[in-house]
Amino acid sequence: MLPKVRVREAIETMKVCETAEEMAECFERIAKEIEREFPGWRFVKLRGTDGSYIFQGQIKGQLLVVSAEGVIYKKTDAPEAIRLQFTPQGALFEVDYSKLDEIFRRAL
């Protein structure tokens, strides 16, 4: 099974989570499993200035973003979508959602 298949499964699992935090925890847990299963595959977990959770891949800077409202976005090869900001809370990243593709929004 390829890493992208596992990533797809991870996204499906995230959809049943209640909150953005749970979604992020879910993806992080599965991403760590993928790291173990596919040596060399790596991700970095970052935080957005708006409370979002950002996961970036080592190859082509793939982005998976969970907004504070629990909306999931993704994009391959869009490093300009996150911009480094230093804040009193540390190094955070401002997310430009217009450069990302929304892939899941829970119906209200």
């Binding site: 390829l2 890493p3 992208k4 990533v7 797809r8 996204i11 499906e12 959809k15 596919f38 040596p39 060399g40 595959w41 790596r42 970095v44 977990k45 970052l46 935080r47 970036q56 891949g57 080592q58 190859i59 082509k60 800077g61 793939q62 998976l64 993704k74 391959t76 090869d77 490093p79 300009e80 911009r83 480094l84 900001q85 230093f86 804040t87 009193p88 540390g90 190094a91 593709d101 892939i103 899941f104």
Partner: protein
Amino acid sequence: MKAMQELVVGWESAIETLKQTSDAKLSDLMYSIHTAFLEALSIGIFPQVPFDYSKFILSMKSFFSDPRLKEVVTDISASFELNLVVRDYVKLTFFNGKEGVELLEQIEKEDDFTGTILDLANRHIVSQFRQTDIDYLFVIKTLNRWASNKDFLKALFEGRDFSWFDETEKHLEEPEIENLIVELNSYFESQQLEQLTISRSSLLNTIRNTAKSIALPYRAEATIGSFNPLLQVFQLLLEILSRIEETKNRS
């Protein structure tokens, strides 16, 4: 905070360089460095002096274009003679240079492969930062996080697929658009929307053109789970119809 902000300069230029790197393997290696940089910041490893990210990425681009890198990666036992002149220059010129070189020497003793990679990268960094103070210790720490991932390097040169998402572009084919039109037509009939002031054919033409412009192209993986582009088009068009009806009722 402004002083902190100024610690990392040239962010946008660096991102532009990353985006414009068309060679796939080179691009993957560059992003790998970028990720190591983000990781360092996210865990609180900050440069102590202004760090020109743009120059750093450019020097790494030059480094990755060096054919010797492939030689090192494909033959892990290969080693290069250390460039002591460069080392001395680093010690004299760069902020935190002494500590950086000590770290590099320690890495080389412990790990010949990573040390060799870093030593090669070192020469390219020096060529870019010759006239500038940089936090050399920060650079070596950042590069070490990247170069230590031997699995990544080996897999990359072996052509292993580490992608996150399916990359195949999928376009809505004409038959799919026709199906959408049939569905919508059926919906209009059930809702008695033929009473609208605009003609059915005009409406369908608008829908056809709208469907083409807003749903094309979309990526295949966007169909994961509940996200369905056809449904999205459909919902948007219903909104448009709703507005048309509102306008009609007001008049």
